[in-house]
């Protein structure tokens, strides 16, 4: 017998009371969700307008992280075309065809306040430090699924394609050097001070001061990373539009908060799945009883053992 209307209504009715409670409780906590700012958030401030593209930071990064030089493409020292499994930091040149303003850009992890890579990472191999806010990768927890390379809106984490024991490479703001009281490698060598290291609040006020003293010098007179993608700890100033430098306009809401809102709500406390499970058990129990009864009737008719 198919599910009756009465049974459907009563089941839905019974299920909807706790579901409604769960949803309202869940909604309240969701509304309160804010991206927590790490209390000792550190970061980088990169001013593209004073970068001279000397790539000293690229070499210093490799040295600080003890990575061998990437000579795979043309046997040249430290001249990869993009970030890769040996390159955490790179200088690129934006040079439009029409001869308008050019700009260098330094690419490395933005250390987002709400990182999409960590939001997607299944076993928390990519983890944001609650104090410094640095997003680090732990080899022992990574299953090598490469979801971080799909989710990162800045396309930063890179997977090692060679070898049986691949690693994920991204800038970790030289967190082991910071522990020793040193600065990140890239900031120690910059001849023009285009990239500087410090607490995020200090860097932000410095960037705003630069904008104030040079009005009209910077694109939109704003700091990229102050609110973009929920805020990042690497801050950018530039003369050319940010999206030309690989920093897309993502809006003030972070990617995980924007896209996973419903996903998070539905799985909150695992309440809705548990309710659904209880309802399913009830319905299936009844179906099973009817099905078994019919099967045994049929068994008597045919003399053949019932197949359930």
């Amino acid at each position: 017998m198919a599910i009756t209307r009465r049974e459907l209504f009563t089941t839905v009715g019974k299920a909807s009371v706790p579901a409604a409670i769960a949803l309202t409780v869940g909604t309240k906590t969701m509304a309160a969700e804010e991206i927590p700012m790490p209390n000792a958030a550190v970061g980088l401030l990169y001013d593209a307008s004073i970068c001279i593209g000397c790539k000293a930071c690229v070499a210093a990064c490799a040295e600080a992280n003890d990575t061998p030089s990437d000579t795979r493409t043309d046997a040249l020292h430290q001249a990869p075309s993009d970030l890769n499994d040996l390159t955490r930091n790179i200088i690129k040149l934006y040079k439009p065809e029409d001869g308008s303003a050019t700009s260098f850009v330094k690419r490395q992890c933005m250390q987002c306040l709400d990182p999409a890579c960590a939001a997607g990472c299944p076993f928390q191999a990519l983890h944001k430090d609650p104090d410094t806010g640095i997003v680090t990768w732990t080899a022992d927890k990574c299953i090598g699924c490469r979801y971080c390379t799909i989710t990162c809106p800045y396309h930063i984490p890179r997977f090692q394609w060679q070898g049986y024991n691949p690693r994920v490479t991204k800038c970790e703001l030289c967190s082991d050097r910071l522990d020793k009281g040193l600065k990140p490698g890239c900031t120690t060598v910059c001849p023009t001070g285009a990239v500087i290291y410090g607490p995020r609040t200090v860097l932000l006020s410095e960037a705003k001061k630069r904008i104030k003293t040079n009005p009209g010098r910077y694109y939109q007179n704003r700091v990229y990373g102050e609110t973009d993608n929920g805020g990042t700890q690497a801050l950018y100033l530039s003369r050319v539009p940010f999206e030309k430098l690989g920093l897309p306009e993502l809006g003030p809401e972070s990617v995980p908060a924007r896209t996973l809102r419903w996903q998070r709500r539905l799985y909150q406390y695992f309440a809705l799945p548990a309710l659904l499970y209880a309802g399913l058990v009830q319905v299936i129990r009844k179906s099973l009883k009817g099905h078994e009864h019919e099967a045994h009737e049929r068994e008597k008719e045919t003399g053949l053992r019932a197949q359930l």
Partner: protein, 446 residues
């Protein structure tokens, strides 16, 4: 026997009765090993060899994956698409057990077996695709899970589902085989069956909750990719659309495979069951298409469907195949042509496959623009793992009662083995009613 005539208006009532699927019967009289089977085994072995090579030298040398396209066909086809085809245990099961379309119980064993094989092969390849699979052991510690990650949801939920509820749902046919295999095993088998039946409602409910969760989370995976998925596909409704696609595709897979098996092994088709499956599938397809259209219109992405680019091409191919499939299924209900029904299943499943394949691959626009095409090795491994599933299917349906058949098929099998396997009689199976043929006559003669 020709089966198409059975559903003609005014068909012989007795013929319809004789075609009614009463019982799952193993495919008898066909050898397991044949050239096709050997080809499948060869493909599987080649895939295993290449897999060993991949484990030693990494993903780069064997695959076309790169920094822009971090996911290749092993994930996007063998997992995203094949497990959608293998959601039969979920979709057909819900129709049969929750909505009590009891005719569909005839298809349940097919659904359970195809699901299990699709999931098992997909998960094995997922383990090979993962760069550091030894770290999967974290799955055992729930407090290490990232509860809000769609990928954690998929990886954990899929493995648990395939290893526990789905595997256990497939146990009854195996126990049944043991029951018939040797009469001395019967008390033990019956005890096991009683235990299994006690837990059955809990198992079946888990077997519907878990796929519902991970098939939708497969869609949620691409939500985090944001703008890089083309606007025709990127929508907050992606999880629901993925689940919907999985449900009609798996109906197509289960019913289509059953029809194909009936054709190949010359079995009668029960048109009452197939018509019901086709009706449900067509409604699922139209509901899915409706949701997809409404979503695209309300998000204002309809304009991009009329750009002359590959995305629009893929989109129209998907929509045309799916709607054409749904329409053919509908037509087959009124014109009673099994050919239309079968083609309807094939087309709609193809459309669904394109849909499930698109957000990760066909409609994925990495920045900077880059290309991905699977290498020969990648394709061979992917095919090899699908071949393994098909070979397993061919072996199992010939040894275990999976395919539904009329009662006459069961008696035919008993007669067949009575002459060809005389030793069955010496070991005493027939004494206790092997195949139910020599059951001691305790019934009232009238």
């Amino acid at each position: 026997m020709s089966t198409a005539i059975l559903n003609e208006p005014g068909a012989n009532v007795a013929a319809v009765e004789n075609a009614r699927w009463e019982r799952a019967v193993p495919v008898y009289g066909f050898p397991v090993v044949n050239p096709f089977f050997l080809c499948l085994v060869a493909l599987t072995l080649v895939a295993f060899g290449l897999t060993a090579y991949r484990e030693l030298y990494g993903l780069g040398p064997v695959s076309g994956m790169n920094d822009a396209y971090g996911w290749g066909i092993w994930k996007t086809f063998n997992v995203m698409v094949m497990t959608a085809l293998g959601s039969g245990a979920f979709a057909v099961g819900i129709a049969a057990w929750v909505f009590r379309r009891k005719r569909l119980h005839a298809l349940m064993r097919m659904a359970l077996l195809t699901s299990f094989l699709a999931y098992a092969c997909g998960l094995l390849l997922l383990g090979i695709d993962a760069g550091r699979p030894w770290n999967f052991y974290w799955m055992v510690f729930p407090w290490k899970w990232n509860m809000h990650s769609p990928l954690a949801e998929v990886a954990i939920c899929m493995s648990i589902y395939a290893m526990i509820p789905l595997a256990l749902e497939n146990v009854p046919p195996v126990l049944e085989r043991l029951w018939y295999f040797d009469s001395r095993l019967r008390p033990g088998v019956e005890r096991l069956e009683r235990i299994l039946h006690y837990f059955f409602p809990y198992l079946i409910a888990a077997a519907y909750l878990l796929p519902g969760m991970h098939q939708s989370s497969l869609g949620a995976l691409m939500l985090l990719a944001g703008e890089r998925v083309h606007p025709l596909w990127q929508t907050p409704w992606l999880p629901l659309l993925y689940l919907g696609a999985a449900s009609f595709m798996s109906f197509g897979c289960v019913a289509g495979t059953t029809m194909l098996c009936c054709l190949v092994w010359k079995r009668a088709m029960d048109m009452e069951v197939l018509d019901e499956a086709a009706l449900i599938t067509s409604w699922l397809i139209f509901a899915w298409l409706g949701l997809r259209t409404i979503d695209i219109i309300f998000r204002g992405a309809l304009g991009t469907a009329f750009h002359f680019d590959r995305f629009a091409g893929v989109f129209w191919m998907e929509v045309l195949l799916t709607s054409m499939g749904g329409w053919m299924l509908r037509r087959s209900l009124s014109n009673h042509k099994t050919r239309w029904m079968f083609l309807g299943y094939i087309l709609s499943s193809l459309g669904g496959m394109i849909y499930r394949f698109s957000p990760t691959t066909l409609a994925f626009r990495p920045n900077p623009e880059s290309l991905y095409f699977p290498t020969t090795v990648e394709i061979l491994v992917s095919l090899g793992f699908i071949s393994m599933g098909i070979a397993g299917f061919l072996l199992i349906v010939k040894r275990i009662a999976i395919l539904p058949a009329p009662l006459s098929e069961w008696h035919g099998m008993a007669n067949y083995f009575w002459f060809r396997r005389p030793y069955i009689r010496w070991t005493g199976y027939f004494k206790y009613g092997y195949f139910g043929e020599n059951e001691p006559d305790t019934k009232d003669p009238l």
